[in-house]
Symmetry: C2
Subunit: 343 residues, 2 copies
């Protein structure tokens, strides 16, 4: 995808996002205890890319539904994303998110945990509201899908936390892909598309999106990890190289551990075994230089592009009975966008 195509795609994306953000902000209670619902809107106001809600809306359109049917679910998808981010930032002790301080740095971890819970609960509220749109039976199916998505996400998050906690270093790229499926792909790609199609009236058995969503989600995550290393803060809006200080098991790190010398591997393992607050920026720079020396970023870029290719094949399979439309094209374009993006 050329830079020009990426910008055109982003314009369509922004259109989808604005519809969702407006509805999302309007759905947040205006009364309640201090430091709760007012903070639920903090991350959404900072405007993410909105790809998850856009996928939900576009899939609904592609399957013959309307935005009016899907908006409620698109808001839920985006709320879940924000709820997960809040907890994720607490768990990773992250510093910046979307160009501002993370919620727990501003208001303390206690309030941040609560606001994350409230965000997820408001998402669930939106999911339950589907009853008036698609009836009880189909809403029950969507609730089951929601529970499944949350379980996958939690397990993926647990896997990543356990790798850091236990200082696991014997990891293969396939371990990373399995983690991506659970931590990223399910809630960011598989779930929004499955809900979008169902809301439009497609029978749950008539669509899948699991392979497609897995691959595109993994490509997305790899690109995210690359941007964390070499991105531009003004566009990426998270702390650059924060992953190195967090000890995150990225594809670059996994590649490095298998490519470097035994002595270097021992040093990297020692660095990763230290508590986060003992890791210095100078050490993170050293790890970054090692990653560059062993071409791990190029390796990751190639992997992301291969995954995008595989995702495209699966996308065409998943959408083979869906007539061509701008919405369908948007879903297909998403694949190359996730590996071309610089934000």
């Amino acid at each position: 995808m050329s830079r020009f195509q990426a910008r055109a795609f982003e314009q369509t994306l922004t259109g989808y996002r604005n519809v969702t953000t407006e509805a999302l902000l309007a759905s947040i209670p205006t009364h309640g205890p201090p430091h709760l619902y007012d903070l639920v809107s903090a991350y959404p106001r900072r405007r993410g890319k909105g790809i998850r809600a856009a996928l939900c809306l576009a899939t609904c359109r592609a399957f013959g539904g309307t935005d009016a049917q899907a908006l409620n679910s698109a808001v839920a998808v985006e709320l879940f994303h924000n709820g997960f981010l809040i907890h994720d930032d607490v768990q990773d002790e992250s510093i910046a998110r979307r160009g501002g301080s993370t919620l727990h740095r501003k208001h303390g971890p206690g309030i941040a945990v609560n606001v994350g819970n409230a965000t997820n609960l408001l998402a669930m509220r939106r999911i339950l509201e589907n009853r008036t749109i698609v009836g009880l039976e189909r809403t029950a199916w969507i609730v089951e899908e929601t529970e499944r998505m949350m379980r996958q996400t939690l397990e993926g998050q647990a896997l990543e936390l356990a790798w850091i906690h236990d200082n696991v270093c014997a990891l293969e790229p396939t371990d990373y892909l399995r983690m991506c499926l659970k931590k990223t792909s399910w809630y960011s790609f598989i779930y929004p598309m499955r809900i979008g199609a169902t809301i439009a009236g497609a029978a749950p058995a008539a669509h899948d999106f699991c392979q497609f969503g897995w691959y595109v989600g993994a490509a997305f995550q790899i690109q995210d990890d690359i941007l964390n290393l070499v991105g531009d803060y003004a566009r990426y809006r998270k702390e650059i190289r924060g992953d190195l200080l967090e000890g995150k098991r990225t594809l670059m790190l996994i590649r490095l551990l298998s490519a470097c010398t035994r002595a270097e591997r021992r040093d990297v393992q020692r660095y990763l075994g230290a508590p986060r607050h003992e890791r210095t920026p100078a050490e993170a720079d050293w790890l970054f230089e090692l990653m560059l020396r062993y071409d791990t970023i190029d390796f990751a870029r190639r992997s992301a592009r291969q995954l995008a290719g595989a995702a495209l094949v699966e996308a065409l399979k998943a959408l083979r009975h869906v007539p061509d439309s701008p919405a369908k094209q948007f879903i297909l374009d998403m694949v190359m966008y996730v590996v071309s993006r610089d934000r």
Copy 2:
């Protein structure tokens, strides 16, 4: 309630609890990523009192239902309780729970937040399983009730966190009661009874439990706060006087702030305004002495007993059409138990 009666009540309670704990532990997945489901069972294995699940089972029995119908929901109630405790301990930076280290002290706050989420999600899984027991329509009602309960609990938790965060000192006993309704009464008393009656087949409109649950829950919370000050660790199993170090707005503290001299009030406010890690045990002892000097514990004890009396009146109203049975008697006995208990 005499000590003898309390022990007899606790024996019945233990019977209910053992049924629930066994089913609860059997419902936790045995596979999955490390430090997730294995830790979900950590707090339940330490054996709480189990009053919430017992209320759910007893209410179902009292309304003519069976344990087989209610067990699933009783497990959910107890799981939600444990999930809330895990997050609550992170938020309050608590040290001990049920005679052991809190989860976040043992495994770090990142893993603890995730395990809390997993516990709540497993609870929601149990709630959804009710579909095979009471059908889709009634399960949808229970899901709505669950969402409402979680919202109340979050808002109550937010209120308490905000009072500490903003160092709010101008509080009346009515503020405390409102916080109890949301933080404690709803999920511990109102919700278990409402679900129990509904599972037994009572139409949702035919039972209420809101007043009854509010009052008994507030009495329970006051007693809990008293035990935190003057309890026996061997029975109470949380760190004694931890609330003083946490700056918790208990009824004793609210009473003290309105009864003490202006100079003392200024000192107390200064103490409460410091970050938790700057408060010393010696200062907590000083605050405790002040609370004793102004008879705040006696004041709280009287308030708890008055609330228990009001709860009993409401209990008899709520259960007036329910025939006498051991289960009904258990619910009524619960009222005096919550203010007599030493654990």
